[in-house]
């Protein structure tokens, strides 16, 4: 209990841990990422989901029955290629699979099929950029940090061993033969901020591209860390379940090694250590390392790819999260960082935001800030109040209708308070927004005169717009009837939204003799 409290109180200190200048930290990561495929890597068994009954997603091949052979799932290959392209890796024209041998109950073949000699991709990078990513450097002039990627390989996941209290081990093979990619970085990390930013950014990327669920907690992404000081021997740390584990283990290991160096004790080469929540513990040294006896799996054909595969995949990829984030930081969006991160993690909402922004700024010539304000201040909180998950219930608030509402409130036709309650009742399924707006405008006709232009006022406005925009008028007369929208927009703007766009259109058409 005391231990726990000490541990808990010290976390705030840990979060600001910076390496000492005379003991330079060097860190590399090894990430295992479960690919979100329908089937397993080398069999036609559906991939297991959480809560599947143990050993219910297992084929003859997955359980290592004699006489069975592997067959590569092309979907896994595609997801691996997407990751490689998104990280700017060089894709191998020819890659192949190898067997890595070791005995373990959750390893039914006695070997893991992986890519040792010819991995699918090498090289590549993930660039951490301030202010999107925290690179934790004292020098404020440095705005980005490049983390180089050594390679990406495709491989099988193992089954899962469950250790029982009575000393027995239960083995669940549902996870066996699930496709993984292993990504290895070079030891480019100089501090914990960079490690944390990298993991976050990587999670964001694989989620956004539909490559992986991206969760550390469920084991969909598993991270091993290697740590060395002043280019000394590197120590690998395994069994890190979440970001807190990773951060704390690196810090612990850093000070452990600093202690050893100060004492003049040599650091064991190629040591593997585990993390128990408090400290790193020796697991394996170089002397008792397993000889994996790698050799090519001759049953699996080589993967041969065309020379323009990177281009082809690139064309299929959407704009990447980091590019979107940079855009959203700048005008005309100028969103806050936390909001940008939120949108990138919720692609449906990102699309919703972009559409709302486009309608408000282009069709109604309003300022872009209204899109962000309404989404983050009103829409999210209304869903929260209604206790509804937002992404799957967005159909309750079609973006066109929300934009009408925004226009109504901005123009003053609808009061702010009314606007919020209209939104709330739409989300709670009481009345759709469009009905609320129309009923509001009929019931408040008496007062509407003060805020809505009369017909003659509208006519006067339109004449004025026509006179001051001769070029547009010329275009319309020469046949580009669509440009009438521009005139309407101008008129709406000048009337501060007090005119009816429908009326304006009719008036413009009459004045310009268009049918």
């Amino acid at each position: 209990m005391t231990l726990l409290r000490n541990f808990a109180t010290s976390t705030s200190v840990r979060a600001t841990f910076r390496p000492l200048p005379e003991y330079q930290l060097k860190c590399g990561l090894e990430l295992h990422t479960q690919l979100k495929t329908k089937y397993k890597l080398f069999s036609l068994t559906p991939t297991s989901v959480i809560n599947s009954k143990p050993n219910s997603k297992v084929s003859y091949f997955d359980s290592g029955l004699p006489g069975t052979q592997p067959k590569l799932n092309p979907e896994a290959l595609l997801l691996a290629l997407k990751t490689a392209v998104a990280l700017n890796c060089d894709i191998a024209r020819i890659s192949s699979f190898d067997r890595k041998h070791y005995f373990y109950p959750d390893q039914p073949l006695g070997y893991q099929i992986t890519q040792f000699y010819k991995p699918i991709a090498t090289g590549g990078e993930l660039i951490l950029k301030e202010p999107l990513d925290d690179i934790g450097l004292a020098d404020n002039s440095v705005k980005s940090k490049r983390i180089r990627i050594q390679q990406i390989q495709i491989e099988q996941d193992t089954g899962r061993s469950i250790y029982r209290k009575d000393g027995s081990i239960s083995v669940d093979l549902n996870r066996s033969n699930t496709p993984l990619i292993e990504l290895v970085t070079l030891p480019d990390f100089e501090n914990i901020y960079q490690v944390r930013s990298f993991i976050k950014k990587y999670q964001q990327l694989v989620r956004y591209l539909g490559i992986c669920t991206g969760d550390l907690e469920t084991g969909a992404i598993r991270v091993d860390v290697n740590v060395s000081i002043n280019n000394g021997e590197r120590v690998e740390i395994k069994n890190l379940r979440n970001t807190t584990d990773i951060v704390q283990a690196i810090e612990y290991e850093y000070f452990r090694q600093v202690g050893l160096i100060k004492n003049g004790t040599p650091i064991q080469s190629q040591e593997t250590r585990g993390w128990d929540g408090v400290q790193t513990n020796a697991r394996r040294s170089k002397e008792n390392a397993v000889d994996y006896r790698y050799f090519p799996d001759s049953e699996l054909p080589h993967i041969q790819l065309s020379s323009n595969i990177s281009e082809e995949i690139k064309n299929e990829l959407p704009k990447l999260p980091s590019e979107i984030a940079m855009e959203l930081l700048e005008p005309p969006f100028k969103l806050e960082l936390k909001h940008i991160r939120y949108l990138i993690d919720n692609k449906v909402l990102l699309d919703y935001y972009m559409e709302l922004h486009s309608i408000l700024t282009h069709d109604h010539k309003l300022e872009g800030k209204f899109a962000g304000n309404w989404l983050f201040n009103n829409l999210l909180s209304s869903f929260k109040k209604a206790r509804l998950e937002i992404t799957s219930n967005l159909n309750l608030v079609p973006v066109k209708q929300l934009s009408e509402l925004v226009v109504g409130v901005v123009s003053g036709r609808v009061s702010k308070g009314n606007g919020k309650s209209i939104l709330q009742s739409a989300i709670e399924g009481k009345q759709p927004i469009d009905k609320s707006i129309s009923s509001l405008s009929t019931s408040s006709q008496a007062t509407a005169s003060s805020i809505v232009l009369s017909h003659s006022q509208e006519e006067e406005l339109c004449s004025h717009i026509i006179n001051t925009n001769p070029e547009t008028v010329e275009k319309i007369k020469s046949g580009k009837v669509g440009s009438i929208k521009y005139l309407i927009g101008m008129a709406m703007k000048q009337s501060s939204g007090k005119a009816s766009s429908k009326n304006l259109e009719q008036i413009f058409k009459n004045l310009l003799n268009i049918k």
Partner: protein
């Protein structure tokens, strides 16, 4: 030690199986389907093919194993009317050339009444069953000669197709880059009928030749085929004139060559230098692949598992796995796993890679002497003066008695490995090859990759 092993040979004899050719027989015999291409033909499977009966690979480790699925080859035979009669004895996991490495004791040779002679291996039970006339044909596996050699000793035909012709799905892997399904029968009609049924693509086997490649192979073969009745060019590889070759086998070879010459075929002396390094390359590759393939047998999910006795510490999982494997595998299998693991270990250097290079060179040299181009290795020019087939003896010596064989093996186990000398080159190069009885001995014929039809025709010339 030796006599104890000999005495245990026939302990598995249950029914009237005088040659210990069977490991199991079906409890009831199905009449088979009428009107199919294999109707009224009875068959057995080497006990490394999965079907609804038990599949032991003649190993204690799989002595209790029953597969939930069937091998594609076995299913195809059943669908085409074949009548299943049982699973045959073999060398454990296909490792051996005598069928003495079996948990169920040695199979013996029906051809000899003067005492227990080896049936050959590893498909010894299959060869014995066909030779004794128990069934019309049997499916075996040939990794380095395991169908051809026992066929040769037992006086039947043993055919191994090009690598990838017949599906290996449901066939227990020994060395996956060399393993082929082979056919044993007493006449060419049966061999060709069965081959016709099995020669097709199977999408479950990643090494099965795709339909498109099969079509290409056929057109390449047709393009170089001199035609039925026309003289063939037949090559005599001089590297097969090894010191281990017995005078009788040398005589038999010469005799066959003379006969073919009399028929009007052109005989050509040819050289394939890499044959000399084939044996070591083969054992390097086969044992490395075997060590890997047999890693799955840990006794945890299926197969033999040691009940924890008082005096054995089975605290750790690895101790249990080690115990199961030490008790479950026979001595020859353990020896080959050790050899293979040594080859694969990081301390041993790059033996596997070197052996692979020998293999490539061998294919290259074969391509240099055949008339037909090798479609798979992209040498697409036919060589007008090249050979249609090559011939040699199948085995180097006479069929030894079990005692003789074991004595030789005990002297030096490499003596046993030398039995595969003549059959290994075709295995390494993936070529089709057949052993046919010739006098009291046998002759092996080989052809270019994919040229099974020319191989069959040459076989018929000798048999008629």
């Amino acid at each position: 030690m030796l006599s104890r092993r000999v005495r245990t040979f026939k302990r598995h004899l249950n029914t009237n199986d005088a040659y210990n050719a069977f490991i199991s027989k079906p409890s009831s015999v199905s009449p088979g389907v009428d009107g199919r291409i294999l109707s009224h033909l009875t068959y057995t499977l080497k006990d490394n093919f999965m079907n609804s009966d038990s599949t032991t690979c003649a190993s204690k480790l799989l002595s209790n194993f029953k597969s939930p699925y069937s091998a594609t080859a076995a299913s195809l035979i059943d669908e085409n009317g074949g009548q299943f009669r049982g699973k045959n004895n073999m060398d454990e996991f296909g490792m051996g050339s005598s069928n003495t490495n079996s948990y169920y004791g040695a199979a013996t040779n029906p051809k000899y009444e003067d005492g227990d002679r080896i049936a050959g291996g590893s498909s010894g039970g299959s060869a014995a069953a066909v030779s004794a006339g128990v069934v019309n044909f049997s499916l075996g596996t040939d990794t380095g000669g395991s169908v051809r050699l026992p066929a040769s000793y037992c006086g039947v035909i043993g055919f191994k197709p090009s690598y990838g012709r017949i599906s290996r799905w449901g066939v227990v892997a020994y060395a996956q880059s060399l393993d082929t399904v082979g056919i044993l029968a007493r006449d060419m009609d049966t061999v060709e009928k069965v081959y016709g049924v099995l020669n097709r693509h199977d999408e479950k086997d990643p090494t099965s030749l795709p339909a498109g490649i099969r079509d290409m192979l056929q057109s390449v073969e047709e393009a170089v085929d001199p035609g039925a009745g026309e003289g063939l060019t037949i090559g005599i590889p001089q590297e097969f004139l090894v010191k281990e070759l017995s005078p009788q086998n040398r005589e038999c070879w010469l005799n066959a060559v003379e006969r073919l010459q009399d028929m009007g075929h052109t005989i050509k002396r040819i050289s394939i230098p890499s044959i000399k390094s084939s044996l070591s390359a083969y054992y390097t590759i086969a044992t490395a692949e075997a060590a890997s393939n047999l890693s799955r047998y840990d006794g945890l999910r299926y197969g033999f598992s040691q009940e924890a006795p008082e005096d054995v510490d089975l605290d750790t999982v690895s101790a249990l796995i080690a115990k199961n494997r030490s008790l479950g595998f026979g001595p020859e299998v353990q020896k080959r796993i050790l050899l293979g693991n040594y080859t694969l270990s990081s301390d041993s250097g790059n033996h596997y890679l070197k052996a692979t290079q020998v293999r490539k060179q061998l294919v290259h040299e074969f391509n240099g002497i055949f008339k037909s181009p090798n479609f798979l290795t992209n040498s697409l020019d036919a060589q007008e003066d090249g050979c249609d087939v090559l011939i040699s003896p199948t085995s180097v010596g006479d069929t030894p008695t079990i005692e003789e064989f074991l004595r030789n093996d005990a002297d030096n186990f490499l003596n046993s490995y030398a039995n595969d000398l003549l059959t290994i080159p075709a295995s390494l190069a993936g070529l089709p090859a057949i052993s046919i009885p010739w006098g009291n001995q046998s002759i092996q014929i080989m052809s270019q990759f994919g040229n099974e039809h020319i191989l069959f025709r040459a076989s018929r010339y000798l048999l008629n």
